[in-house]
Structures are given as structure tokens and as C-alpha cells.
């Protein structure tokens, strides 16, 4: 599954370009510089991993990309250029057009991101109706199709179940299905498999790559687990204390890590991240 | 109690106007109660035969009652009664409640069912009438009042602490303590209760206010604190007959009760914010 090969420059179309992003947030009386001038890019059909430990700023960076930051955080400066437009200049209406439709997310604890009082079928249908303005019946049929796409077998049961009745792995598939409902160009996955069992993790990773091939979206995968980076990505960004400290092709990162923190991460990976 | 509120909470208190105002009010009241002899200009039983039912004046700041006793002094001494009854009654209730609630929550099953059903039964009784009945049988006295209010108010704290302990029991740090060899008593006293006590403190503060109100009501009906010992409630007995002619006898004791209840409510509100 290793994809450390070079993607040729000329056919690369730049989907997302982040320039000098700075995000601060207010914690009681302190101003914390969570993201301090981050540059990163994602090309069409690429899988990019944003690696870092807790506190590195990777999640805030990911949330900043569609400006869904918590109320005490704010983007101080920088540019987020998506398909040629700086989305930091977008008004709220334009932003909600981008979210879900062009850029979608998958998060760590799928069960808590799903609404506990609606069935799975209703939730997916709602997303579809919101973005695609289909009728209820059509939306429900589409919901069914989407669940098939994420390789869920027990369709009727899952469609009529509530999130707490399903396993973590199942809910993650549902969430992926919801995120892909509107065929986004970019899927941002923030530690989507960290709380799942290792066999389920392997299945979900495989599913994401297959869907990526089939539907043609780019994947920005955030994780602290370099083993995943090795398995799925073309390029890796390493974040440390709010900054990108190294960027390279996956194979380069593993063979010749340059920054000390990258070396630390690789050393830990060598020790216990693989067998 | 300060041990239970962490050091950094002192800082939080500054951002907590309710708590501050409440503490100031009750603080002043408590000081007045403790230093009653120093604060009151007259002895509360001193009769001024020249000045019966006098309105507020420089000589008698809040006026005098129908026996010529200085109202201000009586109110100050009355605060001793109200505060002590309130605090001790609530103390008894909270102590009993903690004991029974902690036992029910920790040991569960049969003890829990037994204690909680007992609490339910007691809650079915209209407390005020229960107290009236008891007071009618025994003689009304300050001690009886304290004890009876205490014995009929333990259910609230018990339920609260039981609920908190039920949820805390399964937390990992409690299991860790058990693994370390801590006895049940140690776990309950050193770990469960300090972590569970927040809501109980809030409830106790409100309970003091409630107890004061209860005592005032009983005294007003003549079944509480007996004259000549001044209690805000029994000072108000006179107000029935003097309402039209001596407004100060109704207003000031009423105001005293109001401000005190308000003070405790503010503290409770402030505590809610502190325990988060």
C-alpha cells in the first residue's frame, strides 16, 4: 500500500494552497499562538498526511481550512486558496457553500458527531436535502446508495438505527458516507481511526483509498501515527508547536528525516509503531 | 471547607459578584449576631415606659414596640436566634444526609433501596405540618426547633450525595484507590465525599435560608421561639395588631428576613459557579 512515488509536476493541479496561516486562541487570560505561519498544499488526487503530536496545532489548522474554529479562536493572517479563490475573503453564504460541498470532514469519534436523536437514514437524507435540494424520497434513495458505497451490508438495519446502536467502525463508515454525499473535492480526515480497533482501522483506511480512487477526491489525513502515513500518503507534513517543521515525500521522510522532531517521531515509529 | 475549594478558586471568587455580595451580607449579619451586646444600643428586654410604639428616631433607630423595647436591639439579638437555628438545623440535616446518602450510594442494592424509600416516605409528609404536630406535643423551644427541622430536612442532601457517589464510584481513580488497598471508609471519606460535596454545599446554603424561614413562621405562630427571647418571627406577632399604626414593627423584621434569605441565596448562586 506504500505510495511514496513521485507525482509528476506538470499534471498536478493545485487544489488547496495555504500560505502563512496564523491562528490564535484565547484561553482565559492567555493568548495562545496555536498555528504560527503554516504553509501547506494539496494537489488533485493526492493523499497528504499532516502528522504531529497533541498540541502541535494540526487539528486547529484543519478546522481553519473551512473556518469552523471554536469561538475563542481566530484566524489572524494568511491565505487559504481553494481552487484559485482565497476563502478567507468569502462571506458566510459562500462559506456554507464550500463546507460539505467542496470540502468535507471526517472526525475522530464518529458516534459523538452524529445526532443521537435521529436515525442514520434521516441524518444522511438531511445532508443531501440541504446541499442538493432533492425531494425526501429521492434523498432517502440516495442515502441508501451512499451506504452501499461504503460497503455496509446490513442496509435496512443501519438506515433505521440510531448512532448509539452501532459500533464505532460502523458509525465511521456512516460518517464517511455522509461526507461524500455531495462529492467534495477535498476530504479532511482528523484522526478518523484513532479510537477504532486495529482490524477495523485497516478496513477503514482501505475503504478511504478505494473511494478516493473511485470518486476522485483529494485526502488530507491528520494523524500522530506515522505507520498510517507510510501506508497511505504521497507526502507528509510534520507539525511541531504550531509550525510545519518538515515537508517531504513519504519515502524521504522515513529514510532521511531532517528535523529533530521528525527524527523523534520516526524513532518512536521504528521502536513500536510497526512489527 | 476551604480545603475543598482549591486555591485557584480564590481568584475565581473575584469574578463572582453573587458570592461576594452574599458573603458581605451574611458576614455583616454574623458579626452583628456575634457582637450583639456591643452592637445594640439597648438591652433588648429594656422597657422604656415613656416611649411605647415610637416611630424611628435618633434615640431608637428603628422605633420601639408596644412594650417600649428598642426594635433595633431586638432585631440584632434576633439575628442570633435565626442564624444559629438555621445553621445548626441545616448542619444536622446535612450530616444525617451525608451519612445516609453516602451509605446508600456506596453500598447500593438493599441499603440503597431501604434508605431511599425511607426518604421518599418522609418527603411525602408536609414538613411544616409535621413540625407543627411535633411542636404541639413537645414544648416549643429553640433546641426542639433545631432538631426537628434537622430531622425533617436530611432527604435533600442525602439524595444529592447518593447521586454524586453513584456516578463517582465507577471512576477510575476510585478503583485505583481500591487497588491500592484503601478501605471503604477511607474511600468514602477521603475521596468520594470531597469530590461529591459541591452540590451538597449549595443545597445546605439554601437550606439555611429555608430553615430560617421555617423558624420565623413557627415563631410567628407562637410555636417557635417563645418571648421574651426575641426572634424575627415572634417580633412579627405584634405586627398583626399594630399594622396600621406602627409600620416599623412589620417592615423591619420582614426586611431582616428578606435580606438574610437573599444573602444566603446569593452565596448559593455564587457557590454554584465555583463548583462548576
Amino acid at each position: 500500500m506504500s505510495q511514496g512515488h513521485k507525482v509528476t509536476g506538470k499534471s498536478m493541479e493545485r487544489l488547496l494552497e495555504v500560505k502563512n496561516l496564523k491562528v490564535d486562541f484565547q484561553l482565559e487570560k492567555q493568548l495562545i499562538h496555536a498555528v504560527m505561519g503554516v504553509d501547506l498544499s494539496v494537489n488533485k488526487n493526492e493523499t497528504v498526511v499532516l502528522a504531529g503530536e497533541s498540541g502541535s496545532g494540526k487539528t486547529i489548522t484543519a478546522l481553519a481550512l473551512t473556518r469552523i474554529l471554536p469561538p475563542n479562536a481566530s484566524i489572524v493572517s494568511g491565505e487559504i486558496i481553494f481552487k484559485g479563490n482565497n476563502i478567507l475573503d468569502f462571506n458566510p453564504k459562500q462559506m456554507s457553500g464550500v463546507r460539505g460541498k467542496n470540502i468535507a470532514y471526517v472526525f475522530q469519534e464518529p458516534t459523538s458527531y452524529l445526532n443521537p436523536v435521529y436515525t442514520i437514514g434521516d441524518q444522511i437524507a438531511e445532508v443531501i436535502i440541504l446541499h442538493q435540494k432533492l425531494q425526501r424520497r429521492e434523498a432517502q434513495a440516495r442515502a441508501r446508495e451512499l451506504l452501499e458505497q461504503v460497503k455496509i451490508n446490513d442496509l435496512d438495519r443501519v438506515l433505521t438505527s440510531y448512532p448509539h446502536q452501532l459500533s464505532g467502525g460502523m458509525n465511521q463508515r456512516v460518517f464517511i458516507a455522509m461526507s461524500l454525499a455531495c462529492q467534495p473535492d477535498l476530504l479532511i480526515a482528523d484522526e478518523p481511526t484513532t479510537s477504532l480497533d486495529v482490524t477495523i482501522e485497516a478496513q477503514i483506511l482501505k475503504l478511504l483509498l478505494e473511494l478516493k480512487e473511485k470518486l476522485g477526491f483529494s485526502l488530507l489525513f491528520i494523524t500522530h501515527n506515522l505507520a498510517i502515513a507510510r501506508k497511505i500518503s504521497h507526502r507528509v507534513y510534520v507539525m511541531y508547536q504550531g509550525k510545519v517543521v518538515e515537508e517531504a515525500l513519504t519515502s524521504e521522510i522515513f529514510d532521511h528525516p531532517k528535523h529533530f522532531h521528525t527524527q523523534e517521531l520516526i524513532a518512536a515509529y521504528q521502536k513500536i509503531g510497526k512489527i | 471547607m476551604l480545603m475543598l475549594i482549591r486555591g485557584s478558586a480564590i481568584n475565581e471568587m473575584r469574578k463572582n459578584p453573587y458570592l461576594i455580595v452574599g458573603i458581605i451580607i451574611i458576614g455583616i449579619l454574623s458579626l452583628a449576631a456575634i457582637l450583639a451586646p456591643l452592637v445594640s444600643p439597648y438591652d433588648p428586654s429594656l422597657i422604656d415606659s415613656q416611649g411605647l410604639l415610637m416611630p424611628p428616631s435618633p434615640k431608637h433607630w428603628l422605633g420601639t414596640d408596644s412594650l417600649g423595647r428598642d426594635l433595633f436591639s431586638r432585631l440584632v439579638y434576633g439575628s442570633r436566634i435565626s442564624l444559629s437555628i438555621g445553621i445548626i438545623a441545616m448542619g444536622i440535616a446535612t450530616f444525617l444526609g451525608l451519612l445516609l446518602g453516602a451509605w446508600a450510594g456506596f453500598y447500593g442494592k438493599f441499603s440503597d433501596t431501604l434508605i431511599m424509600r425511607f426518604a421518599d416516605i418522609m418527603l411525602c409528609f408536609p414538613t411544616f405540618f409535621l413540625i407543627l404536630a411535633v411542636v404541639a406535643i413537645l414544648e416549643p423551644s429553640i433546641y426542639n426547633i433545631m432538631i426537628i427541622i434537622g430531622l425533617t430536612s436530611w432527604m435533600g442532601p442525602a439524595r444529592l450525595i447518593r447521586g454524586e457517589i453513584l456516578s463517582l464510584k465507577e471512576r477510575e481513580f476510585i478503583q485505583a484507590e481500591r487497588a491500592l488497598g484503601a478501605t471503604d471508609a477511607r474511600i468514602i471519606i477521603r475521596h468520594l465525599i470531597p469530590n461529591a460535596i459541591g452540590p451538597v454545599l449549595v443545597n445546605a446554603t439554601l437550606g439555611i435560608a429555608g430553615a430560617i424561614l421555617l423558624e420565623s413562621g413557627l415563631s410567628f405562630l407562637g410555636l417557635g421561639v417563645q418571648p421574651p427571647i426575641p426572634s424575627w418571627g415572634n417580633i412579627l406577632i405584634e405586627s398583626k395588631s399594630t399594622l396600621g399604626i406602627a409600620w416599623w414593627i412589620t417592615l423591619f423584621p420582614g426586611l431582616a428576613i428578606l435580606v438574610t434569605i437573599l444573602g444566603f441565596n446569593f452565596i448559593a448562586e455564587g457557590l454554584k459557579k465555583v463548583i462548576g
Binding site: L226, K271 | N195
Partner: protein, 249 residues
């Protein structure tokens, strides 16, 4: 051997219905047996629902088994609550939030009368040093420490009892990889320094490979495979074990 588990089973009943007439039964553990040799590390591998945490709690006497027995060798385990300790997975929940670190460390020392009142502080400082923390930690509260540091404090607390057997239930799973690596080395150090025996529970095979002498694979309450560490990784016999290894590669 230090302990032997014989046919440990655990059934959980969830009462249903208004009069608690029906009950849903879950078999968390189904006749689990194994022998733990002294001074070794037994790696317990399994996914969620495998019963590994329930087994750990039964060994610690925190949960009672439905049937079966755990036999401790009195040569090693004389005072159960002192000689057998556990480290839990969630460092954020394992310390009493209202107690200062020093009080948390004093507790086992006092309960087991490990030292005199006067030497409590010195002993606590020594323990902190052993786990790589500074003595300034004593006056602080758990909320002032990171996950990795809290876990070190829990380790210090358990070591205070001078245990013979330490059960570690996914002690590092929720921490960053570099912190995990550091704590693993601490575990190794403590094991040799204090002649400990470990039962190390983890779903991370890389960690198990690093630490364990013997590996027991569990699934749905049963032991699927049990072998030496090298055997399991080189020659997994059972389908499920192979699946786990494949997923981790």
C-alpha cells in the same frame, strides 16, 4: 509461577423490563486460563470486547468472576493489596482531582505502613525521581500535568507499594507516540530495577513486540492463541492472530 488463572468466566447481566424479569446476558470472559511466570511480561492482546480489561479487574479483585479461580503463589504474593497493582488506561481519570500529588503518593505509603510519618516526604520525592519527575510536583494538583506526566505519577503511586505484580491496562494508548516510547523504556527500567512481573494489555502489536516475553491473544472473551513473543510474530497459528498482524503491518 506467580499466578494461575483457572477457567475464569464472567457474565454480565443487564436487567430489562419494568419488573426486571428479563435479563440480557453478556459473556465477557469464557473459561480463560493461563499461568504467569515470575519476572516475565505477559502481553495481553485483543480488540474491544475481547474481555482483557475485565480480566485485569478480576485479577485485581475489583470485579468478581462468575466462576473459576485465580491462585496467587504465596511465595511472591503475601499481601494482596500491596503486592498486586494496576495502572489504568486513562491518566485523566486515575488520580483524585481534589488531592495534591503528595497526598496521592502518601496514601499507599500510609495504608501499607511502608515508612514512618517523618519520612513520607522523602520517600515521595524518591518515587517521583524514579519516574523522572521533579519534586516540585508534590504540591501541585493533577490538572496541572499532561497525560504522560499523570501516568508517571500513577506509576510512582503503584511503585510506592513495592509490588511484585503490576497489571498495566493499555497504560499508554491514549498518549502521543514519542511519549509512549519514553514510558515503555521506563517500564523496562522499573521491571529490572524492582524485579517486577508485568501483565501488559494493549491493542498495539508494536508495543507488545517491544515488551512482552509471552503473548496471549484474546477475542470475545476467549483465549485464541498463546505463545512466546517470537513465536507469535514469526509463526501465528490462528486465523485471528494472522488478521491482527496483517492489519498492523
Amino acid at each position: 509461577m506467580i499466578l494461575q488463572a483457572k477457567d475464569i468466566s464472567k457474565e454480565f447481566k443487564v436487567e430489562k423490563g419494568m419488573f426486571k424479569a428479563e435479563a440480557e446476558r453478556t459473556l465477557a470472559l469464557d473459561k480463560v486460563s493461563f499461568i504467569l511466570e515470575e519476572f516475565t511480561t505477559l502481553g495481553l492482546v485483543g480488540e474491544s470486547g475481547s474481555g482483557k480489561t475485565t480480566l485485569a479487574k478480576i485479577i485485581l479483585g475489583l470485579v468478581e468472576q462468575s466462576s473459576g479461580e485465580i491462585i496467587f503463589n504465596p511465595e511472591f504474593i503475601q499481601n494482596f493489596r500491596k503486592d498486586v497493582q494496576i495502572i489504568f488506561q486513562n491518566p485523566y481519570n486515575s488520580l483524585d482531582p481534589k488531592m495534591r500529588i503528595k497526598d496521592a503518593l502518601y496514601e499507599p505509603l500510609v495504608i501499607h505502613k511502608m515508612c514512618s510519618r517523618a519520612s513520607l516526604k522523602a520517600r515521595a520525592e524518591e518515587l517521583l525521581k524514579t519516574v523522572g519527575l521533579d519534586e516540585s510536583a508534590l504540591e501541585r494538583y493533577p490538572s496541572q500535568f499532561s497525560g504522560g506526566q499523570r501516568q508517571r505519577i500513577c506509576i510512582a503511586r503503584s511503585i510506592a507499594c513495592e509490588p511484585k505484580l503490576l497489571v498495566l491496562d493499555e497504560p499508554i494508548s491514549s498518549l502521543d507516540l514519542t511519549i509512549q516510547a519514553k514510558l515503555l523504556d521506563l517500564f523496562l527500567e522499573l521491571k529490572s530495577k524492582f524485579n517486577l512481573t508485568y501483565i501488559f494489555i494493549s491493542h498495539n502489536l508494536g508495543v507488545i513486540k517491544y515488551l512482552a516475553d509471552k503473548v496471549m491473544v484474546m477475542r470475545n472473551g476467549r483465549v485464541v492463541e498463546e505463545a512466546s513473543s517470537s513465536e507469535i510474530f514469526a509463526n501465528p497459528r490462528q486465523e485471528y492472530t494472522r488478521e491482527l498482524l496483517q492489519a498492523a503491518k
